[in-house]
Amino acid sequence: MQKGHFSKEFLEKIAAAEPQWMREKRLEAYALYESLPMPHTTEDDVWRRTVDMRTQDYWRRTRRYLRGLDVEKYAPSLPTNGGPSDIDVDASDEAASGVLVQVDGQLQHISKSEELKKKGIYFADFHTALREQPELLRDYFMNKAVTLETALKSGNIAQHNKFDALHGAFWRGGYLLHVPKGVSVEVPLRVFIKMSEADQADLSHTLIIAEEGSQVAVLEDNASTTSDASGLHSGAVEIFAGQNANVTYVQVQRWNRTVWNFGSHRAMIARDAQLCWVSAAFGGRLNKMNQASILEGAGSHAQMLGLAFTDARQHLDVSTAQEHISPHTTSDLMYRTVLKDRSQTAWGGNIYVYPSANHTDAYQKNDNLLLSERAHADTLPGLEIQAHEVRCTHGATAGKIDADQVFYLMSRGLPYTQAERLIVEGFFEPVIERVPLESVREELSTSITRKLG
């Protein structure tokens, strides 16, 4: 496969077949990308806006990890002509109303159920969408949710992000899902974003637009097909839940342990809309993610469930934001992490309540379970409240596996490894039991079991 590189020439090459506005958008992002330092080349924590003394140590750790990154080593493949080829599709037997499979930025397979077609749901890879739905993309793509200069208020998310700029300049692949007004999709859609060849860069873009009163669920898998092919993922996820819409979005990340993983995920939630958002992270060498729910409309609700399991020398750094703009909005975040070996995680969360958002009810909780003496978890909950009548609760814990729990289970005949496994499964259970889809619950349990080894 012919490879590109992160240069202006390459940008022009991929933009050649695209509308002029997209080319300009790419160039604007490229200019920002060029102007921002690589995060590890500066003493400052460029991932966040406000200086927080508590974060000094963990920034130092993340920076140390980043030293091994050479972005120039990676690049997306060149655009190919022609439609999807026929290879693989282990997804064809899934109970899904739509299936999309992408490997190394190339669309491999897409299928849609009769239901999707009949109900006028648009589901396509991003390049096709750019041809067929240019107006929609022009309106939404990196304009409202993930933007080059963030509209977020939370101090734990930087104003400008080098990797968002990289994504904006060189995005390739991904998909658009558009659900028209009042349409309900009963069966979830499934998306498989894969990396296979070494030194690939995956810059997939996810855009989900659920119009007023619609209902949809998407399960997205990000996975490597090999255990050792090094790669770079710089992704963006944009979710729009229209008035009264009900959206479920699940992303399960299983890159192999050599992949550099960056991403910005945003959801805009309109009046009385509901979002159930599940983020599960198992893979990656270094993960630097930020995820935000913006409760724009009165009465909107976001549930953010996070589950992460790291091992070896994996490093996972996640910033979350729950931003309440309108009154009577509710958000509920629960992140649980289990760490093995010498892995390290950092979670920094923020609830931001605008002055206009009275009667906000927000909850934020992060718990970490350390299975090894050498694992390290930082947890930094945060609140910024501008309104007067709010209810915000937050909490964080980090602790080693409990020796009394282990002894209790072993005294009943379970060997150590099985006792540990049961305690880990029990630790994740409060997150898993809240996941609304049985198939996802099973998939998560399987990934946890695999990680336990």
Binding site: D402, A403, D404, Q405, F407, Y408, L409, M410, S411, R412, G413, L414, P415, Y416, T417, Q418, A419, R421, L422, I423, E425, G426, F427, F428, E429, P430, T449
Partner: protein, 262 residues
């Protein structure tokens, strides 16, 4: 001989402090022993040490069960041989249902390897459910009990019943009951006492550890031992329990020249 538990000159310390100072005791299948002693006499240390809690260090002595010295074994291996400890303070395991846990535990002690996650190593679900329901009925616990997270948010009485339910399911050869009557009201003590009495038979030896003879009204032991200062100072029959009930530990302390723990 094989199912007898023989403790020989056992010494146990916790963080360098000697707690059990040369204790010897033999429990045969079919026998019920009561080990009585005031708070601080070392009762729970003995129970935890026998089961292999890592905090309780065995300094010397032997514990022979089923022909092997169990002190060399991990707690799960002791359980597999047929030792069972009903805890004074059972630990909560949030997120793990009693039924799921018990199925793994029963499969483990009944000799099937459950190291892997393969389902065929577990006892069949239907068989397990039938057995569990039957034993829960005998104990007078509700069906919903099985779905609750293990000891998580259980009342004192529920915790003790869960311990006895596990005892009934795991069918050990020797059961050690550590203060199983503590924190229970009189009705709960009766239910727990009756349940254990039903389990006592020629296959099961029981060591009841308690500082209060209430539970013994329901499970009549043939042997009473008095533990003071980490040693058994008196052994006898029911008359010892009656004497304790009437006079307390002071006359025995005096007789053996042991000062009351501060």
């Amino acid at each position: 001989m094989s199912n007898e538990l023989t403790i020989k000159d056992l010494h146990i310390s916790v963080q360098g402090k000697p707690i059990i100072n040369g204790l010897s005791l033999t429990v045969q299948p079919g026998e019920v022993h009561a080990l009585m002693g005031p708070n601080g006499s070392g009762k729970s240390s003995l129970a935890n040490g026998l089961m292999g809690h890592p905090l309780y260090e065995v300094d010397s002595g032997e514990v022979i069960f089923d022909g092997v010295d169990v002190l060399d074994l991990e707690p799960n291996e002791r359980a597999k041989l047929g030792l069972f400890l009903a805890f004074q303070y059972p630990t909560a395991i949030p997120g793990v249902s009693l039924a799921n846990f018990l199925r793994l535990a029963v499969s483990a002690v009944r000799g099937k390897e459950t190291n892997g996650s393969e389902k065929d190593k577990l006892i069949p679900m239907r068989e397990f459910r039938r057995e569990l329901r039957e034993k829960m009925q005998q104990l007078g616990v509700d069906d919903s009990f099985a779905r609750r997270y293990l000891n998580d948010g259980f009342s004192g009485g529920e915790k003790k019943r869960a311990e006895i339910l596990q005892l009934a399911m795991l069918e050990p050869k020797i059961a050690i009951l550590d203060e199983t009557d503590s924190g229970l009201d009189i009705d709960a003590v009766r239910i727990v006492g009756d349940s254990v009495s039903r389990l006592v038979g020629p296959e099961l030896g029981v060591l009841i550890i308690t500082h209060y003879p209430r539970l013994l009204e329901y499970i009549r032991p043939q042997f009473i031992h008095i533990l003071l200062d980490g040693r058994i100072v008196e052994s006898g029959g029911w008359e010892l329990a009656e004497m304790l009930e009437a006079e307390g530990y002071d006359p025995i302390r005096e007789k053996h020249g042991i000062k009351e723990e501060e």
